[in-house]
Structure formats: structure tokens, C-alpha cells
Amino acid sequence: MASSANNDRPNHRTARAFCLTSAFWFAAAASFGMIGAGYLIAPDFMANIGWLHFGKARPMHVNLMLFGFVTPGLLAAAFYYVPKLLRTALYSEKLGVFTAILWNITLPIGVVGLAQGRSQGREYAEWPWSVDMLIVVLFALVIFNLVMTVRRRLEPIIYVSIWYVCAAVILTGTTYCIGNVIWKPSTGALLGIPDAILLWFYGHNVFGLLLTPLGLGVAYYVLPLATRSPLYSHTLSLIGFWSLIVVYTHIGTHHLLQVPVPTWLKTIAIVDSVAMVIPVMVFLINIWYTVQGKLGTIHADIGAKFVFTGTIYYFFVNIQGSMMALPQVQRVTHFNNWVVGHAHIGVLGFAGVVAIGGIYYVLPKITGRPLYSRFLADLQYWLLLIGVTGFAVVLTIVGLIQGNAWLNGETVYRVLPEIHLYYILRASLGVFIISGAYIGLYNIFRTLYFNPGAATACE
């Protein structure tokens, strides 16, 4: 099964398969998100379609975004750059392709399970137990392939991107098992407060220990390469990596500050949330110094443009995150649409945009041809930029209206008419995002297949 380092030129079939997987599920996930947005405007929207009501469309949207679009998109770039940085071939392209196929079997099973109402009812952990087990297997396969590639490396130094991608899959493989309580197949949950604590350790770590390190790994690879600049400091990047591992793992309980969980756990969560400023600023200072004076070059390269934009969203989402962990701020921002806006900036604005950038950056290298359409990629960029930024603005406003009203003792139903307009705006902005998703799918598909562009030397 293993391919030798001396084999013929790599064909990058694994990276190709993950690119296509990500593009397809982005379109699907955005479609479910659009359905959810429709329900928020008109609660009887599609009311007769039982398998697609809001309570089912929403987890389909969220889980497909996390595990269908963003994770495979970031892994697609990783499956390209890990062998390249280690000067060896991927341990097994066959295993990689098998993983991608199994990935695309797992997700429809999950969607059908949710449509049948077999949700485990825990936010970000709704997949049925059978799908949980398949996802654990998928992570095990990815870990095996990447770790074996690292073991066979010809380059002794492990570049920071590889640290990030390996940490992401290993830690998530572990936390997925624990956070989804896979030893209790019938419920996938504990009872009461302990379940909430465990769930939010997992829920926040899906972003913190999966999407964040995968995204940073792509940024650390793409931006120096696109600008032909050496990394400002590799030592600094390792400090950022280890501080993220230390700090990010324990902050999930900041979702539960209003809940009777142990105070020491809340304190850890708040302190570590604020301390997240350290790894975040270490990364941003490092990567922005690396590309200093070369913003024109970045914006001339569509992949780098997406990735750099993702780093700006990363800055915002983390500044927000540190702020939102403060109990005084949470009194206004928690349990309302502010948090939804925050999640969209993080998952789509940072990780999703970086994933698309990584795909667009590696596609010409793995196909040996230019992108099918630079224009479509640019169009997708602006659609997503307007969509995500608009989402952030609208949902932040809605969140402040809700938070302030509840702080003043208003009841929920009296606030709803006030925010209806914003839900319409939100759905309108969703049209930008869903359009971008389908345009991206077409562009990526045409780049991989039926691409009329002139062939160049394939790496």
C-alpha cells in the first residue's frame, strides 16, 4: 500500500479528492443554511416537510460546514504541502483516496440520520453514534497516513505547518471520542451538567483544535510561498504553536458561565480565553511581518488573497472570543445572535476562507494547469467577503438588540418583531454565500476536469 519516496512524480490524488469533497459539501451545507435562514423569516417555511424542519436543517448545515466543507478543504492543502515540506511522498495515496471516499459515504449517512430525527441533540455533536464512529475511523486513517509520512521524511526539520496539521488531527481524534461520549451509544451523552461541560470542551475544540491549527498550517505554507519570503521567525511560530496547544484546550467552559459548573473550571476557561491573545498575536505578527510590503503580490494571487483575508477574520474572531469570555461582556452578548455572528466569522470567515484559499493555491500545482477561471474565483472571493462581513454586521446588531432588551427585562416574543428585518437581511446575505459556494464548486470541478488551460510542469 505504501508508496515509496522514489516513486514517479506524485499524482496528488488524495489532495484532489479532498478538494472536490470540500467544494461539493460547501454547496450542500450552504443550501441547508439557506433553508434555515428561510425558517427564521417565516417559521412555517417548508412546514410540511418534516425531515427538513429547522431543528433538522440547522444541524445538517452546521455539521456539514464543519466536517464536509472546512475540514476536508484544509486537509486538501495539507495532503499537498505535508509531503512537499518533508521532501517525501505521501505514505499512501491509495489510503488517502479511500479516506476521501469513506468521508463522502459518512456524510450522507449523517445527513440521512439527522433527517430521520436520530440527532443526539447536543450542539455541534448531533451526528448519530454510527456516524461518530465512522468519523473516528476517518481521523484514524488521516492520522496514520500523515504520521507515517512524517516518519519517512527526508527533511529532518518539521516545519510549523506540519506541527499544526498533525496536532489538529491527533487532538481532534481524541477529543471527538471523549466529547461525543462514544462509550454510550444509546445516547452519546452523560447526564446533566457534566454532559454540558464535556460537550463544550468538545464543541469549542472543534474550532480551536481542528479548524484553527489546520487553518494556521495552510497560512504558514501559502503566504511565505506566494510572496517568495522566508517566514519571519520559525521560532516564533513554534512558540505560537505550543502556546495554542496549552491555552486553547481548556476554554470550552466559557460557554457555561451562567451554569452551575465548578468555579475553578470557569476561571480556567476565562483566563485561558483571554490568554488566547498570545498565540493569536504571535501568529499574526509572524505572518504579517512575513508578507510585509507584499500585499500587492498577495492580492494578485487568488489563493494567497483568500488566505490573507482569512488571517484578518482570524484576528477579529479571536479578539471577539477573548472579549466574550468576560462575564460582564457576556451579560450582553450571550444566548443571542452575537454568538451566531461570531461563529460565522470564525468558521466561514477564517477557516472556510483559508480552506478555499488553500484549495485555489494548490490546485494549479497538483493539476499542472491554471485555475479554470480566475474571474470566477475573484467573484467567489467578493461574494464571500460581502456575505461574511454582512453576516457579522447584521448578526452583531441583532445580538445587541436581543442582549440589551433581555438585560432590560423584555420578553423574547416582544423582541422578535424588532429583529425580523435583520433576519431578512441575513437571508439576503446568505444568497451571496450560497452563490459563492456553487461558483466555487463549478470552478474547482472544471479545474480538475475538462480544464482547457495550457498544461504547465506538474509538481
Partner: protein, 86 residues
């Protein structure tokens, strides 16, 4: 019954991290940091970078403006929340 699960969770991450850190230390992963900076560029330097354009610069300014607006909005919310705090 509160503690075993999330202490196991925290310990699992901690033990894995410490183990890997010790391996990295012994494996020389914190040496040759100057060479490590250039690793992505190896085998790539012969290619000329893509040239910037006027449109690209305009996009840069637009993004920078967006970033400033977002930062100001975040600061305003923080100030508002602290002002409203009882």
C-alpha cells in the same frame, strides 16, 4: 461524577502534548530555526512572483478599511458592555 470525565479529557491532551514536546526536544526540532524559515521556498525560488496590480492595491485598502471598522465596532461593544454592566 463531575470530575473524572473532563479531568480525563484535560489529561489526555496534556499527556499527548508533553510526550510530543519531549520527543521534539530530543529529536532536534528546535535547532536549525534559520533554515526552517526557508523550508516552504525550497525548490520554488526559480518561479517569479505574480505581479501586483492597481486593483490589488485598491482591494488591500478596502480590506484594511473593513478591518478598522470591525476593530472600532468591537471596541464600541466592549465599552458599551462595560458601561452597561451593573
Amino acid at each position: 461524577m463531575y470530575y473524572p470525565y473532563f479531568i480525563t479529557y484535560m489529561l489526555a491532551g496534556f499527556v499527548i502534548s508533553v510526550g510530543v514536546f519531549i520527543w521534539a526536544l530530543n529529536n532536534g526540532q528546535f535547532k536549525e530555526q534559520q533554515r526552517a524559515r526557508f523550508l516552504p521556498l525550497e525548490g520554488e525560488l526559480e518561479t517569479q512572483p505574480v505581479r501586483g496590480s492597481r486593483m490589488g492595491r485598491l482591494e488591500t485598502y478596502a480590506l484594511f478599511s473593513l478591518a478598522c471598522c470591525g476593530l472600532l465596532a468591537s471596541a464600541a461593544v466592549l465599552a458599551f458592555a462595560l458601561w452597561r454592566a451593573p
